[in-house]
């Protein structure tokens, strides 16, 4: 099945200054962005950044306290039913019924979208096959592994062939093999079916690998939004080089700061240095030549490209893991108080 009609202006989602306040807590603060039809758009941020609240507002589960948004061309406040009938949602928590079989879970969801009779049976079979669960059709959802359960959730969210699919942290809690399987499925949904996908994640590699564009969210605000490549390129010192000499450089760090394209140098002790450079491979070549010139031995040399973690650090002033550790115990998916 192909996705339904796309909006006239080519935008699947348009968010204008949307906010959500829970008491004194401003969970989402005046957020504005647009998602084009057919793209995979990612919200990247730690637990507690406001991703789930934002996705819940866009899927009509939580009313905003300010601003507006249209999803599939329909206003989320004025016409929530039209929005609901055009979106598929795979929430962060597993919401398939553990006491129902895979086929029953999909079939009952189909009925909630008005799909009945033979169409329901056919669609259920198609979706179970699409997510490789055709052999587990009559198995209770409670007996599935985490990865299988997530695939069932994706199938269920696709039952009415939605224009836009929302996935809230689709791989959280999954093992590496299951993560890969879900990633493949997400890629397939876009490549084969041209659907718009909106996903939230706190995994850098997930956003980097899957998303056409990524919005970095921190403390309820979007602090950067672009393609992963452009975001990484926007960070000064796009490459990180670690080098160790023997013996040490005669003047230490100043000998390295003179090299072209080097942005900064930090001594790590024991004649080792961390260098930020705009041109990683070229700087590495210059380090080899410097060692030869000064008759020093190069004990180690490694070049790393900028990751989205560096981008996050650059735009927020703190690392993703660092804030995730402090926010994780509170969780972000608590009803009514989600951030």
């Amino acid at each position: 099945m192909e996705p339904q009609d796309q909006t006239a202006n080519g935008l699947a989602i348009e968010v204008k200054g949307i906010s959500k306040r829970f008491g004194s807590l401003l969970a989402v603060d005046n957020v504005t962005f647009q998602v084009k039809s057919g793209e995979i758009f990612g919200l990247l941020g730690p637990n507690g950044a406001g991703k789930s609240t934002l996705i819940r507002m866009l899927t009509t589960l939580v009313p905003p306290t300010g601003g507006s948004a249209t999803v599939a061309g329909h206003d989320i406040i004025r016409d929530p039913t039209a929005v609901r009938s055009r979106i598929g949602v795979i929430p962060q928590n597993m919401t398939s019924d553990p006491e129902l079989t895979c086929a029953e879970n999909i079939g009952i969801h189909a009925r909630l979208y008005g799909i009945t009779g033979e169409s329901r049976r056919r669609r259920t079979a198609e979706l179970l096959e699409a997510v490789n669960l055709q052999d587990r059709s009559d198995a209770l959802a409670s007996t599935l592994s985490g990865g299988m359960r997530r695939r069932l959730e994706i199938a269920r969210g696709m039952v009415h062939d939605p224009q836009i699919l929302f996935l809230d942290e689709p791989t959280t809690g999954l093992d590496p093999v299951s993560r890969m399987s879900v990633w493949e499925m997400i890629t397939h949904l876009r490549v084969q079916q041209g659907r718009t996908l909106f996903l939230t994640t706190h995994y850098m590699d997930e956003a980097d690998r899957l998303c056409d564009r990524v919005a970095i969210v921190d403390r309820g605000r979007v602090v950067a939004l672009d393609t992963p490549v452009a975001l990484k390129a926007s960070v000064p010192g796009a490459s990180r080089i670690e080098v160790q000499f023997h013996p040490d450089l005669p003047n230490g760090a100043p000998d390295l700061e003179r090299l072209p394209a080097v942005q900064s140098v930090r001594s790590l002790g024991s004649a080792a240095y961390r260098i930020s450079s705009d041109r990683g491979p070229a700087s590495a070549q210059e380090l080899v030549e410097l060692a030869r010139e000064l008759k020093l031995e190069l004990r180690s040399l490694s070049v790393q490209s900028t990751s989205l973690d560096d981008v996050f650090l650059h735009y927020t002033g703190h690392g993703l893991a660092e804030i995730a550790e402090t926010a994780a115990p509170a969780g972000e998916a608590k009803k009514g108080g989600a951030r």
């Binding site: 929430p91 019924d97 009925r111 909630l112 009803k335």
Partner: protein, 370 residues
């Protein structure tokens, strides 16, 4: 409507796969019916009665013989002779005997001299039922001793004849209406309360709320599936209970129809009430914490186990506000009196009014958003 039926289909599939809910809803009321129904309301028998005869005259021997006659026939009490009253009363305190009859010295002489001698019955009033039964039997016995050997030609006293309009109603039949109502309530607590909140806290409702299902369809779906389960368990206890309690002419079609109406009305009212209570609750511990209290507050003031007429005034007021009262009264009227629907008009009205109020309130409280 079709979307509401999707929720009903979901619940029925789960209900059929795991009939534990039906089992749980049936066990408590049926066990209660069989155990309490047989434990209460029977005639008290075999109470050990200590007899201390300090007289030994011919009139006291008559008393002892009549006591032994009761022991051999009605068996309300079984006499045991004691030599002195101190030992007998001590045994009464220890629970060895349930009462002590003391025939005082000079009883025979005083009786013949018409000095109105006193027989003394010492009872253990920590058990009022046993003390009452022994006292009543002894009063009859003393009345028979006092009766003149030849009846006077004209009896000056008025005589009361008690006529019972229905066949003998033992306690198990009296308890059955409460058991049926309890079965419906237990289903409402588990199926309409516990599972509802558990599903909500597990995020299952979130999965429904992102679909186009409307608020009305959600309310209709949740309540309809609850009512179907409550009708199944209430109907099962009604039929099984009527067979166990041997309710006469239970399977008359018109009677069954009236009782089916009562089962449906009670189910709608109690499921609606549970939905009203649970509309804003998210914590799965809350229903578990309040169900015991709720059961006591609704079941016992309803007259299910003891007549409302015996309650203090404040409890009678509480009883009038309790939907259980009308369910129990309606079932009791239909089961034990075999009268038509008009006899339960007040009960039908009260249960309908309860349904309208609680479902209206629940609709106002229920939120379609998180």
């Amino acid at each position: 409507m079709n979307r509401a039926l999707a929720l009903v289909e979901r619940d029925m599939r789960k209900f059929r796969r795991s009939p534990a809910l039906l089992f749980a809803a049936l066990v408590l009321p049926l066990v209660q019916l069989i155990i309490l129904g047989n434990a209460f309301g029977g005639n008290i028998k075999n109470v050990e009665l200590g007899v201390v005869n300090l007289d030994h005259g011919p009139q006291s021997v008559t008393v002892v013989e009549r006591v032994r006659a009761v022991g051999a026939n009605a068996r309300t009490f079984l006499p045991t002779d004691y030599v002195d009253e101190g030992t007998a009363v001590s045994d009464l305190r220890k629970g060895v005997v349930g009462g002590v009859l003391i025939i005082p010295q000079h009883y025979s002489r005083d009786l013949l001299e018409q000095h109105r001698p006193h027989l003394v019955l010492v009872t253990d009033n920590t058990d009022r039922s046993v003390a009452g039964a022994v006292g009543s039997q002894m009063a009859d016995l003393v009345a028979s001793i006092n009766a003149p050997p030849v009846a006077p030609r004209e009896t000056p006293q008025a005589i009361l004849d008690v006529v019972e309009v229905y066949p003998y109603v033992d306690y198990i039949k009296y308890l059955l209406p409460g058991s049926v109502t309890l079965a419906i309530f237990v289903t409402a607590m588990i199926g309409g309360g516990l599972l509802f909140i558990d599903d909500k806290s597990r995020g299952l409702h979130e999965g429904y709320m992102v679909t186009p299902i409307t608020k009305w369809e959600l309310i209709l779906g949740f309540n309809l599936s609850g009512v179907i389960k409550a009708v199944l368990s209430g109907g099962t206890v009604l039929v099984l209970g009527a067979v166990v309690a041997q309710v006469p002419d239970f399977f008359q079609p018109a009677r069954l129809l009236n009782m089916a109406l009562m089962v449906v009305l009670t189910s709608v009212a109690l499921i609606g009430m549970m939905f009203f209570i649970m509309a804003r609750i998210n914590d799965p511990l809350v229903p578990r914490a309040i169900f015991g209290v709720l059961n006591t507050l609704l079941f016992f003031p309803s007259g299910a186990v003891y007549p409302v007429a015996g309650f203090p005034k404040w409890l009678r007021v509480m009883s009038q506000a309790d939907p259980f009262t009308y369910a129990v009264h309606g079932f009791r009227t239909l089961l034990l009196k075999d009268v038509g629907i008009t006899a339960i008009g007040t009960d039908v009205f009260a249960l309908t009014l309860t349904s309208v109020v609680v479902l209206g309130g629940a609709t106002l409280l229920f939120r379609r958003t998180l």
